[in-house]
Amino acid sequence: MDLSRRELLAAAGRFIVLSGAALEAFESPTGALAADSKYKMADHWWAMTIDIEKCIGSGNCVRACALENEVPEGFFRTWVERYEVNGEDREHPQVESPEGGIHGFPARNKPGVKSFFVPKLCNQCAHSPCVQVCPVGATYVSPDGVVLVDQQYCVGCGYCVQACPYGCRYLHPTKHVADKCTLCYHRITKGLTTACCEACPTGARRLADLKNPKDPVHEFLRVNAVQVLKPEMATGAKVFYKDLDGSVR
């Protein structure tokens, strides 16, 4: 194929402009994957509901999250805890989360002991202590209510890890920046649900959009006894647990 110099330059120019635009579309300035073009952040306020009764501790959610988000070994964006509460000693529940519950839990039946599973993840707090303390503003709440980390900007000081009351953050061992659950932001902004919700075999976890009047979350919050973790922390947590036992921390 013969190209004149003018045609070659024009083609090169088009290539540069288009590839730049493609990159821009693929990557937002925050480093997070770009939202669907129809997606309007102002129309959403993301949250999650968890039905303790429905969780069977399969660990599917932990595995799905690890695969979807390439979570480094030994760290967890979500995990499952098994609580065993003796009725007479409610202040000292037996809690375990072997490898974050990624392989599920061995069956166990202790007579007289209440046993249940508690899935945990970032609570996407509206008044997030981790956002408050970040010295460079690398951690922020997106306009649609998700706490995210700009990993191109994070200095890796670990102050946010200390500030999170729920143990949801860690320093990524190879990227050396803060890492945490993004509520699968790359998925939910494309109209999908999170990997953990999709993998949950019993529907114990459900993604919720508090700004969507048709979202079942409103009915869920209205008819059930709902609690957030550590309400005394006043973080504006947006992961709502149905029938959360008072012993859970």
């Binding site: 460079v136 200390q162 500030a163 009351p165 729920y166 920046v177």
Partner: protein, 390 residues
């Protein structure tokens, strides 16, 4: 099949097993505390006109500077991305306590310490620039910053401005270390840290450690130089050390009693931790060896008449133990605050590396470095009375 991670007792949230802040973050409040304390000791002579401590005025300033130069290094070494640390200056996050470190540090370094030292030494620097030859002449000439007028009027201006700078310096020293305490005290997620007393305890413990380090440096330097020590000065410094130590210890006990009496949700967990993981560093090193013993030694000198040589040795021992105690206190705050789960259901263990970036070796190097800086500063800007007189 499901083994509990090694070093874990009970239940930790899975991301809590490894500590986020290492021994380097222990050094950070320890070193900034020495800076603030040494400066406040210097201010006793300058602002409060305590004549007895005049002989160590300059030594205190240089000690403060030597440690201040090292203060940001442990933080820098700890950061996952140290190359991005300038972002804290360029785009500080206004709600973050940590974001203010750079500004507080620069204010203290440039506006307070360097300016005060320069004003106090300006006459000496000009004289040294005139008398020295070769490279040293060039260095001293540069240090004059072009200000070579040392007539009486000019020196009087230096003195007045220096006094004002020291006056600003006292609240600045409080700010520097109180601020470091606030970094920990404002973390509501951590009951071991979260107390409004934290900045106050940090300030008083800073004064204690700063006075102790200057006392030790003064004794060492006089011994090495084979010069007579000013016992009146030493006695006064030791007296201040005792008084401030008593305030510091009372504040820490107040915090402890308050926690015990309140016995809130976290108390049992923290109490167990103090009696197990932190037993050596908290009970033995911080409280007994690092507080009760030096306080008793310093008090003994106040009530029993002892010979100068014995007093001198007691002061050195008390100061050394004080530094161990304050280091243990920083350790117990930083490391202790990460050993228990925020679920209050378990404990983890701190495994300190040796030659790694955040290991013991760099920590030791960072503790030696200020003394090397101080040695250079003492050579460059001799604080001795005989030089000043000349």
């Amino acid at each position: 099949m499901h083994a509990i991670p090694s070093g874990v007792q009970g239940f930790m949230y899975p991301n809590e097993v490894q500590l986020t802040w290492s021994v380097l973050i222990v050094l950070y409040p320890f070193i900034t505390g020495l800076v603030a304390g040494a400066f406040i000791l210097a201010s006793l002579a300058r602002v409060f006109h305590i004549v007895a401590v005049q002989p160590i005025y300059r030594l205190s300033l240089l000690t403060a500077l030597a440690f201040l130069l090292v203060a940001p290094l442990p933080l820098q070494l700890h950061l996952g991305h140290p190359e991005r640390s300038f972002e804290m200056y360029m785009t500080p996050h206004k709600t973050s306590a940590m974001a203010m470190f750079g500004f507080v540090y620069l204010w203290y370094l440039l506006v307070v310490l360097l300016l005060e030292i320069w004003l106090d030494y300006r006459r000496d620097i000009v004289l040294l620039a005139r008398s020295r030859t070769g490279v040293m002449k060039w260095i001293y000439s540069a240090l004059t910053l072009g200000s070579r007028n040392i007539d009486a009027k000019s020196l009087h201006v230096d003195d007045r401005v220096g006094w004002t700078v020291t006056l600003i310096g006292i609240p600045s020293a409080f700010l520097l270390h109180g601020y470091v305490g606030f970094i920990f005290g404002s973390i509501k997620a951590n009951p071991w840290w979260s107390t409004p007393l934290m900045p106050v305890v940090f300030i008083f413990s800073a004064m204690v450690s700063g006075i102790a380090v200057v006392l030790l440096v003064y004794e060492t330097v006089t011994y090495v130089r084979k010069r007579p020590i000013d016992m009146a000065c030493l006695d006064t410094v030791a007296k201040y050390l005792l008084y401030i130590f008593l305030v510091d210890f009372s504040l820490e006990m107040l915090d402890l009693i308050h926690r015990m009496y309140e016995a809130s949700e976290s108390f049992r967990t923290l109490d167990f931790m103090v009696h197990t993981q932190l037993y050596v560093s908290q009970i033995l090193l911080q409280i007994i060896l690092g507080t009760l013993v030096p306080v008793s030694l310093l008090a003994l000198v106040q009530v029993v008449k002892l010979r100068a040589i014995l007093r001198r040795r007691i002061y050195a021992l008390a100061a050394a133990l004080t530094l161990i105690g304050i280091f243990a206190m920083r350790w117990n705050v930083v490391i202790g605050g990460q050993l228990f789960s925020k679920s209050f259901l378990g404990y983890t263990t701190y495994k300190m590396a040796f030659a790694a970036r955040e290991g013991l070796l760099p920590a030791i190097a960072l503790l030696i470095l200020p003394f090397l800086f101080l040695w250079v500063l003492l050579k460059l800007l001799p604080p001795w009375a005989e030089q000043k007189a000349g």
